[in-house]
């Protein structure tokens, strides 16, 4: 007999199903229940940083937008610091920015959007700087285990070229699937980020 490792095993994942909104975004399901709701606006009047809107659609293997998808994002603040005690970088926390948001796509158009700020760069593994990016987590009916990806910024070409995660994608042609295009809409900065499950421009998803 040998000793035994006593690690527990992670609980198995199951699909979020078509009614995920009831639990995570009840107003979208069609009713009001909580006093405070978690939503897709990450910024308040006092948040530091450049205001941006992220929008896009999640497209299935036929190119049809998922109209029942739910996305969460997690990001650093404008200084490149995560609002979490494990981030030991010597940078300021922004008390007006948690860096987390949740959006459900529109039931008709499939469009999702977030209002946030552009994050600063964060130090990555082995001291290598990661280009500004936003972490995405995607769940829906038909998705058995949440999908992880990252969104990078089209106006950060130099930083993107050095980013250790983008560079770890062996297929250079696939890296561009993670880069959101910046556009100016009136006085609003919009980044367009579509996510695709099949095809030549299938989004890169990560095992994290």
């Amino acid at each position: 007999m040998t000793q035994r490792l006593d690690y527990l095993q992670e609980t198995p994942s199951q699909t979020a199903g078509p009614y995920v909104h009831i639990g995570l975004a009840p107003r979208q399901a069609g009713f009001d229940i909580y006093e405070r709701n978690f939503d897709n606006v990450l910024v308040g009047p006092n948040t530091k940083g450049e205001r941006i809107r992220i929008e896009g659609r999640v497209l299935d293997g036929s190119g049809t937008p998922l109209r029942d998808v739910l996305l969460e994002i997690w990001q650093a603040n404008a200084a490149g610091k995560y609002n979490h005690p494990a981030d030991l970088q010597d940078k300021p926390i922004d008390p007006h920015f948690r860096g987390w948001g949740r959006a459900a796509s529109d039931f008709e158009t499939g469009l999702y959007w977030f209002e946030t700020i552009k994050p600063g760069p964060v130090i990555g593994r082995h001291g290598r700087v990661m280009a500004p990016h936003i972490n995405f987590w995607i769940v829906a009916r038909g998705i058995n285990i949440g999908l992880n990806t990252r969104m990078y910024f089209s106006d950060e070409e130099e930083a993107n070229a050095k980013d250790p995660v983008l560079n770890s994608i062996e297929w250079e042609v696939r890296r561009k699937t993670l880069i959101a295009q910046r556009e100016q809409r009136g006085n609003q900065v919009v980044y367009r980020f579509d996510i695709r499950f099949h095809g030549d421009d299938e989004t890169v998803f990560f095992e994290i």
Partner: protein, 246 residues
């Protein structure tokens, strides 16, 4: 920082054999909603080991009581139950302050959702969602009504066993998890295509909550126990991420 949760290094690699794969043709919707390419493995960085922190003040006092949190002019119809358990990580340590959110159908198997058109009626006193933060021991508790089974479109004449959907957010982004809890003894369990997306039957059975007689309240409710395990992490922070670019 003495709190062990924040002395975190990278998370242990996810054991994919515990989980359903993305592509499971028996659950038809997964066919067009699964990536074709392999996931690309990346080393954990601050982006993966950190995650949102929630404050108890963000939740209301009835948020974890589905019997009362939508009651309008009476109580919801159905079997009164309590569901409770512990959230731990793979190291066996409690995960305090985890955000646990649940949603479910009412006793008749109907969801309060714009897109649910099942003929079973809505219950005017039942919303069907709740949320809570685990305490310092990783413990959570909800009071609710036992959900009914409901039909869905996969094969014809397909029925979901009674279940409660769970969403859990722990201390790191890489722990984010959604799952479903089933009820011991439900005859619809063995044929459920969604539960069967999990290839290992022993793993699938871990989602079946057992009746917990010790937690019954006489003349009030029965109870089910459902424990959850999130990914665990190394206790040592990874190398020199505070030192600038090399």
């Amino acid at each position: 920082m003495n709190d062990h949760r924040f002395r975190v290094g990278e998370f242990y690699q996810r054991d994919r054999l515990v989980h359903p794969p993305a592509y499971t043709p028996g659950y038809k919707t997964s066919i067009l909603r699964s990536p074709k390419n392999a996931l690309i493995a990346i080393e954990n960085s601050l982006s993966e080991i950190t995650g949102p922190v929630f404050d108890p003040s963000e939740l209301g006092p009835l948020d974890n009581d589905l019997i009362l949190n939508y009651a309008k002019d009476g109580l919801p119809i159905g079997e009164r139950i309590l569901v409770h358990g512990y959230v731990r990580d793979e190291n066996g340590r409690p995960v305090p302050n985890a955000l646990v959110e649940i949603w479910q159908a009412n006793a008749g198997g109907r969801y309060r959702h714009k897109n649910d058109r099942y003929i079973a009626p809505l219950d005017p006193n039942f919303g069907g969602c709740g949320r809570t933060l685990t305490d310092k021991d990783g413990y959570y508790v909800f009071r609710t009504i036992k959900p009914g089974p409901y039909p869905w479109r996969n094969h014809n004449n397909e029925w979901r066993p009674s279940h409660i959907h769970y969403s859990i957010s722990g201390y790191g982004w890489a722990q984010r998890l959604i799952t479903q809890m089933y009820f011991e003894g439900d005859p619809l369990i063995p044929m459920c295509p969604i539960l069967r997306t999990i290839p290992d039957e022993a793993q699938a059975r871990r989602l079946i909550a057992v009746q917990d007689r010790n937690a019954f309240a006489a003349f009030d409710y029965r109870a089910y126990r459902f424990d959850i395990v999130l990914r665990g992490s190394r206790a040592t922070p990874f190398e020199n991420y505070v030192q600038g670019e090399k």
